[in-house]
């Protein structure tokens, strides 16, 4: 097992002394070659969870075990080594690239920071990485602004792969791209994963993308994982009311009739993480395994099966 996340929790302090639990008690595991998709609405904690794993945020409680190493208690030197093994691709490629570095220098930068090879070797490696993601050799000296959004994202992916990471976190990597380009990038990620046997943590709100790419899906709702299962179980045998609502909200361009979206069960506002006072204590329900590998937040098993949709 490459990644073992146990009971990860992150609480932020809000002004006025209130607290907000962005991620509560999240647990999951990830093998090499697997892709776990984190889905859920904005503010559900999916990006925060991924950042906790990479220790870009410090967790309040819980454990992250990466290849047997306890990430959260690693010291600076150990952490630096770990960073080379886990990388991230962000939603907005332009703001994640160094604007005053050429594409080539952007990709060579992690190699320089980790003192891999000499300058010429690093540039050669960066060139071949860029070629691998479909950036032409004669364009590599250009600056990020000279590339289209799709090309920028290819450069960001090449940079993330420069140190040959074992875990790749992708935070909405195609959300800002045009559909035709999105398809190109998804194919690229799929190919790279096959070649490099990467473990991927893939954050997306596009369920069709998730179904296409992920081996497993974790559905997050207000900071908690409420359902987690192999991809086909989520799409064919979803149990949690929120998962069903999410699936029914998808608008297909072709084919079958559009499903009716079940109403919300409560009126907690969308799009923002709410302070802890908005939640009842029993929101924190443990996951139950209702089928091998298929976990559902306990209280909602009964709730979900009781509801006709």
């Amino acid at each position: 097992m490459l990644l073992d996340v146990r009971n990860l929790t992150k609480t932020f302090d809000l002004p006025g002394g209130a607290t907000m639990t962005a991620v509560r008690n999240a647990s999951f595991t990830l093998e090499r070659g697997q892709t776990l998709a984190l889905v859920g609405e904005s503010g559900s904690g999916k990006s925060t969870l991924a950042r906790l794993v990479l220790r870009l945020h410090e967790a309040t409680a819980g454990e992250v075990i990466f290849d047997g190493i306890d990430v959260l208690s690693a010291d600076t030197r150990e952490m630096r080594q770990l960073r080379s093994r886990m990388q991230i691709v962000f939603q907005d490629p332009f703001s994640s690239l160094l604007p005053h570095y050429s594409a080539l220098d952007n990709v060579a930068e992690p190699l320089r920071l980790f003192k891999r090879g000499n300058k010429e070797q690093r540039r050669e490696r960066a060139r071949s990485l860029l070629e691998g993601v479909g950036v032409n050799r004669n364009m590599v000296e250009r600056y990020p602004y000279e590339f289209s959004g799709g090309q920028q994202q290819r450069i960001a992916i090449a940079r993330a792969l420069a140190l040959e990471p074992e875990l790749l976190v992708c935070d909405e990597p195609t959300s800002s791209l045009d559909v035709s380009i999105q398809a190109q990038i998804l194919n690229l990620l799929q190919d790279l994963q096959g070649q490099l046997h990467l473990a991927m943590l893939f954050i997306s709100h596009n369920l069709a993308v998730v179904e296409h790419l992920a081996t497993h899906v974790a559905v997050m709702y207000r900071g908690s994982i409420v359902e987690m299962a192999p991809t086909d179980r989520i799409f064919n045998a979803a149990q949690h009311a929120y998962t069903k609502r999410l699936l029914a909200a998808v608008l297909p361009a072709r084919g079958n009739a559009i499903p009716v979206m079940p109403p919300e069960e409560d009126d907690v506002p969308h799009g923002t993480a709410a302070p802890d006072t908005t939640f009842a204590a029993d929101d924190d329900v443990p996951l139950e395994e209702i089928f091998p590998g298929h976990f559902v937040a306990g209280e909602n098993v009964a709730k979900a099966t009781g509801v006709p949709y």
Binding site: Q182, A208, E211, F235, L247, A249, M261, H270
Partner: protein, 331 residues
């Protein structure tokens, strides 16, 4: 049939960029009936946003509308004097933008943002305007409207801001709503709710132009669709018909690039290459460099929209040749 509410003919908008001229909208025509929704679909830079902003002459200074007409309720919006147009903007024609945070004035309360224009348009006095704002907010599902009227945009979540902006557009009871990617920044569940709110208004007779890159959203919401590429309409037709049997290779490519649930894990067939550089468009069909069917003629000679069926037309040499073959085969 009733006269169309909006009739756009041969709209052209250009931007000067250094030495060259960008033809952002290059001869666009369509019409819209009362209570009808049309989707303008395309990728970034295809000219869909500029085309609707041109209708209300809301384009940046270095842009110029060089030809065309847009008859709204019989009057040409493009020929009208500015004061007259000002009486239509935010009144009979309202706009909803993608990003409510930048579209709203951060220093004004919602009350101001939702009532200022209707008071200015003399549609209502202050207290009636307030009541209409409250009604509009309720209709878009914003709770506690009286409280929210005192709030500023930053105090609302993204979804609530988007709803507030839609409320602000609906409060004047426009005949035409232009919605530019109104739900792109939102979660799917919220997107669905907002589309349902707009659908209800459509049922009440409001016409809508929806700009989107999401074919699923377009299908859910619109009666007809215009596919734009490089500033031109490359295909037009009734929504279902066009999605079930796309004519233009670009439309086909868009559909094949669009992932659907249940489509499985087969490799996607993306459109190769990148959207075109508008400053250096090829002389022929703008899609030719990425088109799997393109041949010599496509690269040198542009094709205009040619009818291929009832209410359907396509700007493609290959398709119109095929259509002609069919026609001659039948006769």
């Amino acid at each position: 049939m009733a006269a169309p509410l909006l009739e756009v003919e041969n709209l052209r908008t250009e931007f000067a960029r250094g030495e060259s001229t960008i033809h952002a909208v290059d001869g666009l025509s369509y019409s819209l009936e009362p209570g009808e929704a049309v989707a303008i679909v395309g990728e970034s830079g295809s000219g869909k946003s500029v085309s609707v902003r041109s209708l209300l002459r809301l384009i940046p200074r270095h842009g110029r509308i060089t030809s065309g007409s847009a008859r709204f309720d019989g009057k040409d919006l493009l020929a009208m004097k500015e004061p007259e147009l000002r009486h239509i903007r935010g009144n009979q024609i309202a706009f909803v933008f993608q990003d409510a945070m930048t579209a709203m004035n951060p220093t004004l309360t919602l009350e101001k943002q939702l009532t200022e224009h209707i008071i200015w348009h003399e549609l209502a006095g202050k207290s009636e305007a307030r009541q209409r704002a409250i009604d509009a907010m309720t209709s878009v599902g914003l709770d506690q409207p009286e409280v929210r009227l005192k709030q500023y945009p930053f105090q609302l979540s993204g979804g609530m801001r988007q709803r507030a902006m839609i409320a602000s557009a609906l409060v004047s009871r426009p005949k035409l709503l232009i919605a530019d990617e109104p739900t792109t920044a939102l979660d799917v569940t919220l997107q669905r709710q907002i589309l349902d709110i707009l659908k209800e208004r459509k049922r009440d007779g409001m016409s809508i132009i929806l700009i989107t890159h999401d074919l699923g959203v377009a299908r859910y919401f619109c009666d007809r669709v215009i596919v734009m590429y490089a500033g031109r309409a490359v295909e037009r037709g009734p929504m279902r018909d066009l999605l079930e049997s796309p004519g233009h290779p670009y439309t086909t490519g868009l559909l094949e690039s669009t992932l659907e649930i249940g489509a499985g894990k087969d490799r996607l067939q993306p459109i190769p290459g990148n959207p075109p550089n508008m400053a250096t468009l090829p002389p022929g069909c703008p899609f030719a460099p990425r088109c799997p069917l393109a041949e010599e003629r496509c690269r040198v000679e542009p094709q205009s929209l040619i009818p291929i069926g009832p209410d359907r037309d396509v700007a493609c040499w290959k398709v119109s040749e095929g259509a002609t073959l069919h026609a001659s085969g039948r006769s």
